[in-house]
């Protein structure tokens, strides 16, 4: 379980996250909405442990451990992984080698890559000249090898062409064990209990909701998590009235 309590974060001199509370239980997926610059990526980077995001107060708990000041690699080892929106290029490091590093040992890169239609990129340097959509598939491939328990997705569908969007959506659903549906002899409750993977997904478009059932939607606005609601509802509301109006409206509903 991820539990964030009263988290305040500074980037340089600027306060970018204000009193964030967030709880993601095993098996749950949350969607994070918010306008550009509202702090969504910063929240993900803070959870991942990027040191330039300075935690001023509050704490982050994961699997019962206080990880607030834990280095990135230890968080990764504890089971946190991230799919980046704009990862850096690593010259001279082949995507194939990167996948192996993620797996922490030998792995069938080709078979894994086939699932995300990415075989022909295995011998190219990581992210070197990749298009937006190619980066997303490369990131997913790395997560497939890494198998984290909590996955942070930063706009996983942006830049992905129509042909690959279904693929990307289904892979994310699979990573988050959404296939563990109630089936014969297993109740809905049991299926949910089997599912342990957690997800936090940033999206602007909501396309991802067509593939991944999410438990909660949250809006981050001006560094504050302003409302919790059904993700579809938030998406519709934002589409109709914009973020500012949406935040005000849902906040009022939550108060009443």
């Amino acid at each position: 379980m991820l539990k964030i309590e009263d988290l305040q974060v500074k980037l340089g001199e600027k306060e970018i996250l204000k009193h964030i509370d967030l709880e993601i239980n095993p098996g749950e997926t949350h969607i994070l909405f918010g306008p550009n610059g509202s702090g969504k990526t910063s929240l993900l980077m803070t959870i991942m442990g990027y040191p330039q995001y300075e935690v001023v107060s509050g704490k982050i708990m994961f699997k019962g451990e206080d990880i607030t000041h834990m280095p990135i690699d230890e968080r990764a080892k504890l089971g946190i992984g991230m799919s980046y929106q704009r990862p850096p290029t690593i010259n001279g490091l082949k995507t194939r080698q990167m996948v192996e590093l993620c797996a922490g040992g030998e792995i069938n890169e080709a078979a894994l890559a086939r699932q995300v239609n990415f075989e022909e990129f295995l011998d190219r340097d990581v992210n070197a000249g990749f298009s937006g959509g190619e980066i997303k598939r490369s990131e997913l491939l790395q997560l497939m090898a890494q198998k984290p328990d909590l996955m942070l997705f930063d706009e996983p569908e942006s830049g992905v062409d129509m042909e690959n969007i279904t693929l990307v959506g289904n892979i994310i659903a699979e990573l988050l064990e959404k296939h563990l549906h109630p089936s014969r002899g297993r109740s809905k409750m049991q299926a949910k209990a089997d599912r342990t993977k957690m997800g936090l997904i940033i999206t602007h478009t909501g396309f991802i909701l067509d593939y991944v059932s999410a438990d909660k939607g949250q809006v981050l606005y001006n560094g504050k998590l302003s409302c919790v609601s059904n993700p579809r509802e938030i998406l519709n509301c934002v589409g109709d009235t914009g973020y500012e109006e949406c935040v005000r409206c849902i906040s009022m509903n939550n108060l009443s």
């Binding site: 280095p71 990135i72 990764a76 690593i90 010259n91 590093l101």
Partner: protein
């Protein structure tokens, strides 16, 4: 006057002439006296102490001679082992070749200037040995010929002259290493190399340096590439050395001739490198590329590159990337000279440190900071060299892999 007397005369005039660039070496502090002659048969090579075999292997010479088309090994001042196992490829010691093969005289001091400086002079006046490697017209070498110039005697001066000829339509691959015995601390290596790539021939030359902390190195090399010829020249040096200064020159004289230089160099504290490459593009359709990767973890490094386009319709590119890991200095000096309209020449140079963003990215995949850094460094040093046979690429990768621990 006999041609050799002319060389002697010119050399004598240059015995006090300092090199055009780089720190001066006091030759009087090194011992050029030859040692007693001996030869080594295959078994002798394989019975060398393990430690020495490893030194040789790190310089590309495999005593098992597996996947090698020939071997030349020079110990101190003379060749001790020399043979070719491929038809159409000749491997000779230069002393023997000068004495017995008149054709070698057509190439001796043809490109390099014997009067250039005191190092070229020393190689004429006190020549020890060196190799002559030639691929006959139309012959294609399957495996690389391995050559190694090994210094065993502490404080010695080694004077070497090499001649490499790829005849028309032939293909020749050479891996040439320099190394010192484990106990050797101090020495001077002077090496003249003259490369002749004839019409439509292909020559790849991979030089691996594996010196000791107090060794001075002054190679002087010049190449000439004829019509349709390809010359790939790789240089790798990752071990400590006192000072290396070299500025090999290549003349592309025939249409569509191509030269590519790749160098991968690590400068340790106390090491001083002044390296570069100069390529003259003298005929239509010629292409040149110089790619350098330099890492300094405390050493002083000058990376030069000079491309000279003398005729239209040529294309040349220079790329130098430097990484400062632990102090030290990297000075990139790229030069482009276009003498006429219609040349296409470019360069890119960058010197910096490892981006924190890249380290964090790899850490988020589970690598610790040290692993992430060494992964990035290894990537930085891995250069894809088009046209290099896979086993030579593997050899380069192996050297980089093994030296990795010393870099960090």
């Amino acid at each position: 006057m006999h041609i050799n007397e002319q060389f002697e005369l010119k050399a004598k005039e240059a015995i006090h002439k300092k090199g055009a660039i780089g720190p001066d070496v006091d030759l009087s502090t090194f011992d050029p006296t030859p040692s007693p002659h001996f030869e080594m048969v295959d078994d002798d090579l394989r019975n060398l102490p393990r430690e020495e075999q490893e030194r040789l292997l790190m310089a590309g010479l495999d005593v098992t001679e597996k996947e090698r088309g020939g071997t030349f090994l020079q110990m101190n001042d003379h060749a001790v082992h020399c043979h070719s196992s491929q038809e159409g490829i000749e491997v000779l010691s230069i002393q023997k070749a000068l004495a017995e093969q008149p054709w070698v005289r057509d190439y001796y001091w043809k490109l390099a200037d014997v009067g250039a400086d005191k190092y070229t002079a020393a190689a004429q006046l006190g020549l020890h040995d060196g190799y002559v490697i030639r691929s006959l017209p139309g012959s294609k070498s399957v495996y690389p010929v391995q050559a190694c110039l090994y210094m065993h005697k502490d404080g010695m001066q080694q004077n070497v002259h090499n001649i490499i000829v790829a005849e028309e339509d032939s293909e020749l691959h050479i891996i040439s290493g320099c190394a010192t015995a484990p106990h050797l601390k101090r020495g001077l290596h002077v090496g003249i190399s003259e490369f002749f790539v004839k019409k439509n021939a292909k020559l790849t030359f991979t030089m691996i340096h594996n010196w000791a902390e107090e060794v001075m190195v002054r190679p002087r090399s010049v190449a000439r590439v004829e019509e349709g010829g390809l010359f790939i020249n790789n240089y790798i040096s990752m071990k400590p050395v006192r000072s290396v200064q070299m500025y090999p020159t290549t003349h592309l004289v025939g249409e569509d001739a191509v030269a590519r230089f790749y160098s991968i160099v690590v400068g340790s504290p106390g090491s001083e490198y002044d390296l570069g490459g100069r390529i003259f593009l003298k005929a239509k359709g010629t292409r040149a590329e110089i790619v350098a990767r330099a890492i300094s973890n405390g050493g002083k490094m000058i990376a030069r590159g000079h491309l000279i386009g003398e005729v239209p319709e040529i294309k040349a590119h220079l790329e130098c990337k430097g990484l400062l890991l632990n102090g030290g200095l990297i000075h990139a000096i790229p030069e482009l000279e276009g003498h006429v309209d219609g040349v296409e020449m470019s360069h890119e140079a960058a010197v910096g440190k490892i981006a924190q963003e890249e380290i964090s990215y790899l850490m988020s995949r589970g690598l610790n900071e040290e692993e992430a850094t060494s992964t990035i460094v290894r990537g930085f040093l891995s250069v894809d060299i088009p046209g290099l046979p896979p086993q030579l690429q593997a050899e380069i990768d192996r050297v980089i892999e093994e030296s990795d621990k010393d870099v960090m």
